[in-house]
């Protein structure tokens, strides 16, 4: 069995889906320029000591990559709709090879989102030490794992007519509770809740670019636990997904 050929065509399919590309990559970018371009000279955003273009670059990178990962579910729901998932079940394709292809396609989209937003930030004068860029990118990629598993799970549980609201609403809620749009502060219910969510640590991963500090142990644990739970859910959802849609 040659999983590489299968994965290669899966990536090619993702790259050729122009409309998906346009909306998935275009919106965070557009959003970024609308907010940050007119305020490119704000060097101390809201008393944080951070320039506004930098603040929103990391915020939208965490949001854009999260959406890119969860959107895997949209493509899977569409494949189920045309009976393709059932077709795959009567081939020897392993669960592992299937997941690898879906995961890599999702990471490819997230990677492109990162490159585009970093480029957009740089075009508005964002400059960071090389170590910060690297640490931020590495942690973001790790923090995206639970969202990839979430996307696959939703794709196999929800039909194509309701997957849009499910992934859009889910991503918005997780972004909101994770502190993507405004700081959660350092106490209170939302802060306590946020600390338990993968989206909070994704935002913190992106903030590594600003602060230079990585996650505390708690961040690693929360991401690891969510990754494990959602991966199990994804495997379960895929294995039971053999019915006619």
């Amino acid at each position: 069995m040659n999983g590489l050929v299968y994965t290669r065509y899966e990536l090619l399919r993702a790259l050729r889906n122009r409309r998906f590309f346009f909306f998935s990559l275009g919106f965070p970018l557009l959003f970024y320029f609308v907010i940050a371009a007119p305020n490119r000279h704000v060097t101390d955003f809201d008393g944080s000591g951070i320039s506004l273009p930098l603040y929103y670059m990391v915020g939208l990178t965490s949001f854009g990559t999260m959406v890119a990962m969860i959107s895997t579910g949209t493509r899977i729901a569409a494949e189920r709709q045309v009976g393709w998932t059932r077709q795959l079940r009567i081939t020897p394709l392993s669960t592992r090879a299937y997941f690898r292809a879906k995961l890599l396609a999702a990471y490819m989209m997230a990677g492109l989102t990162i490159v585009l937003l970093y480029g957009a930030g740089a075009s508005l004068g964002v400059g960071l030490p090389a170590g910060n860029w690297l640490a931020m990118t590495g942690l973001i990629l790790i923090a995206l794992l639970p969202f990839a598993a979430l996307g696959i799970t939703l794709g196999h549980l929800i039909n194509v007519d309701s997957i849009g609201p499910a992934t859009g609403g889910g991503a918005s809620l997780l972004a909101f509770l994770g502190g993507t749009w405004f700081p959660l502060g350092s106490h209170g219910f939302l802060y306590q809740l946020g600390q338990l969510l993968p989206s909070y640590w994704l935002v913190q991963a992106a903030h590594t670019g600003i602060t230079g500090h990585g996650w505390p142990a708690r961040g690693w644990i929360v991401i690891a636990v969510w990754s494990a739970l959602l991966s199990l859910a994804a495997v379960y959802a895929f294995r039971r997904d053999t019915k006619r849609v």
Partner: protein, 314 residues
């Protein structure tokens, strides 16, 4: 590899529905030898698709057992022994026909060459076309090509010609027979008696989740091939009509009468002799539905007369 073919033993499957449980498949036993081409014939809701789903391991049976060449369905699929064209389904987008076949060939242990499959299924001319630009018939041919990719020992086709026009159907069955001629086992579901007659060595007739007849196509045709005569005849008495030579049953529907015939040639002569005023006469092959209703109403074939009426399989 063992020489055993396909064994379905006491296979049952029910679904929940708002009206109570639906017994889609009721303890059927079917044995198919290697190299046979078998049609699963029956009206919608007879349990054909559910049987095929269980045969392929897509749905677990409630009870009973499936063995494909001595393997479970999952093992057989894993070894690339099974190719299938499911009833509903289209193709994933953003790949050409050739790319899609290459992608799927890569998951099999010893696939046929993609170019060979393209030529066998007559797809060379559209091999470079994107899957989303194909017509319904072309899509079906690509799905057939996907089923052949692994060079399977068993080919399973669930109502494969639904989206095809007459010519496409003809070509499709030619390709299928060419495949079967290589000693392969073929199981296909259809609700067309003619398709079963022309392309199968053997017909398994299903109704209400049961096997109601199993034999060569000629035998099955004789059992379900009765005809009906319909004529406008306002004054005739159904009792007298039923007594005509060749007529099994007579029924009044408004101005018209409908005669179910054991021998329609004899019946039409008798009808016109006795009732010269009969007009608007139509002679039609009985729908399979009617034939199956007749078959399943027979107490010998239906031991479960109190069972709820069959619902359409999902």
């Amino acid at each position: 590899m063992t020489g055993t073919g396909i064994r379905l033993s006491r296979l049952s499957k029910s679904f929940r529905s708002p009206e109570g449980p639906v017994h889609a498949v009721r303890a059927i036993d079917v044995s198919i030898e290697r190299g046979e081409a078998v049609a699963l014939l029956g009206p919608n809701g007879a349990g054909k698709s559910t049987t095929i789903d269980m045969l392929l391991g897509l749905q677990p049976p409630d009870s009973g057992d499936v063995s494909l060449f001595g393997h479970t369905p999952r093992e057989a699929v894993h070894r690339g022994l099974v190719g299938a064209m499911l009833q509903t389904g289209s193709l994933i987008q953003y790949l050409s026909v050739r790319e899609l076949l290459k992608m799927m060939a890569s998951v099999y242990p010893s696939p046929l060459g993609v170019e060979a499959v393209l030529s066998q299924t007559g797809l060379e001319a559209i091999a470079a076309r994107r899957t989303q630009k194909l017509s319904g018939g072309e899509t079906q041919r690509v799905r057939f090509a996907l089923a052949l990719l692994s060079d399977p020992d068993l080919l399973v086709l669930d109502e494969p010609t639904v989206a095809m026009d007459v010519e496409a159907r003809h070509e499709f069955w030619n390709s299928m027979r060419a495949f079967a001629a290589r000693g392969k086992t073929v199981v296909f579901a259809t609700h067309y008696l003619e398709e079963a007659d022309q392309n199968a060595d053997r017909v398994v007739l299903m109704a209400h989740g049961r096997v109601v007849a199993d034999g060569p196509p000629t035998e099955i045709k004789a059992r379900v091939g009765s005809r009906t005569i319909r004529a406008t005849l306002p004054d005739a008495d159904p009792g007298e009509l039923a007594a005509l030579a060749g007529v099994a049953r007579a029924e009044r529907r408004g101005e018209a009468v409908v005669l179910s015939c054991a021998d329609s040639d004899q019946a039409i002569r008798a009808l016109l002799e006795r009732y010269p005023a009969a007009r608007d006469i139509e002679i039609a092959g009985a729908g399979l539905e009617d034939a199956f209703l007749a078959l399943t109403a027979d107490p010998d074939t239906d031991t479960d007369a109190d069972a709820p009426p069959p619902a359409l399989a999902p």
